[in-house]
Amino acid sequence: MGRGELSRSMTEADHDLLAAYVTAAAIPRARTDRRKYPIYVGRVARLGMDLLGLRVEEALRRLDERGVGDDRIAAAFANPTRIMRAVHTFNEGLIAADVSKARRQALVLRLVRLAQLLKAGDVFCRDGMNLVLPAAEAESLAGSLEREPAAPSVVDAFQRLAATLWAAAESLYFACHGVAREQHGAYRLADGTLLIVRDYRELMPAELWPELPPLRHSSLRLLAWHTADAEVEWDAFNNLYLHGAPLAQTLTAAAVTNGDGTPLSMASLGAVTDELLALVAALGNRIARWSEEEIAHQYLKVLWWQVRPLQQLLGEDWQPPDSVFERLASSGVGPQSDHQPMEAEIRAKMDLL
């Protein structure tokens, strides 16, 4: 039996990992609203998730044949959340393609282990933390930058940038915003503070969104030092929950760097935020003029963009096959459903155990 198919005698470790994945994915999926921007992803994904799941499986098989190691494959995704948030789509895709449960299990396990390679902590954030950096690296990063104390003007500029980046990520990638965004921590530093890092990447995907307003930074890293009593918690899909005070009240210092690590002054953040606001407005105006079919067309491209790293490693085009767009033209976008499935229903639908 090849690497791509799981043995009938699945190991205990494999079973435990699958069970943990099912639990970890079911919780945020049960909290996900049906009324999503710009339309609910399920209405679009049904048009091509079988082909997407098969593409991922096939790409990994071919990368194995070429001897491309898992470290390199994982690194190409950069954000563990880019993988983790997409796994269920690929699993549902393989269900739609009617492949065996063993093959689906194998793909899910492979992807979860790829995501694990990008993390220093638990891949499912079961301890409430999303630890991407090893402790020493987090300490070194924090020590390498000059912190701006959290004066009200600094807090305001920092939070406006953080919120606008989130809006930009969702504008560019819809529900697949894990492509652009990884919010990680909280790293407990030697000085007693908690460090939360927000990494934003791929903010100028010209192939996906031509003719967008330019940005001066396609990648940004926001670092926030908080008091030790900040009560933060992440789920497996990189959603951050607060249990105590607002983040502004525990923020003690901040720093922002661009993609190559060059620090940005707090005085410059307003201009960066304004550029991002222009980007969000431009995308919003474009989508507001589109029909549902046009939105779905773009959404299909976004879904395929998620796995672009695999095609890049293979030296191939990332675009969806024409047949997906032909399906859209012939059957249209799926109907809106307001049915909010409970965790048990989501777990059963995954059919992985």
Binding site: P28, D33, R160, E170, P246, G284
Partner: protein
């Protein structure tokens, strides 16, 4: 003491704020939104970011704890309650009240 009507929802971003409400039924209402007021909307998407940046708090009819409104409010440190049924109908622009983003309660002065 001013009598209050209490509306229940889901606490999405901690903190409390008191002030005037502004009901925005569409993005075209935002240019009239007074900075610092509490923004009341049906649901949010990225295009609402300008409204959030000006708001003192947010109330949304739809959405849960990982909705766009909830995440944006947490990033901005704005008290936010989501899932408040018929909020845009039950809360009038110009009314005063309070938002408890931890308890998920919106109190509107009668």
């Amino acid at each position: 003491m001013t009598p209050k009507r209490t509306l229940k929802g889901t606490g999405a971003s901690p903190g409390r704020t008191a002030g005037r409400f502004f009901v925005a039924r569409s993005l075209s209402d935002l240019p009239r939104f007074p900075a610092g007021d509490i923004l009341v909307i049906r649901e949010s998407n990225p295009a609402w970011i300008a409204g959030f940046l000006a708001a003192g708090g947010v109330v949304a009819e739809h959405g849960g704890v990982i909705s766009h409104a909830a995440i944006t409010a947490r990033e901005l440190g704005l008290p936010c309650v989501v899932g408040v049924t018929d909020a845009t109908s039950l809360i009038g622009t110009g009314r005063s009240g309070e938002v408890d983003g931890e308890g998920g309660v919106v109190a509107v002065d009668d």
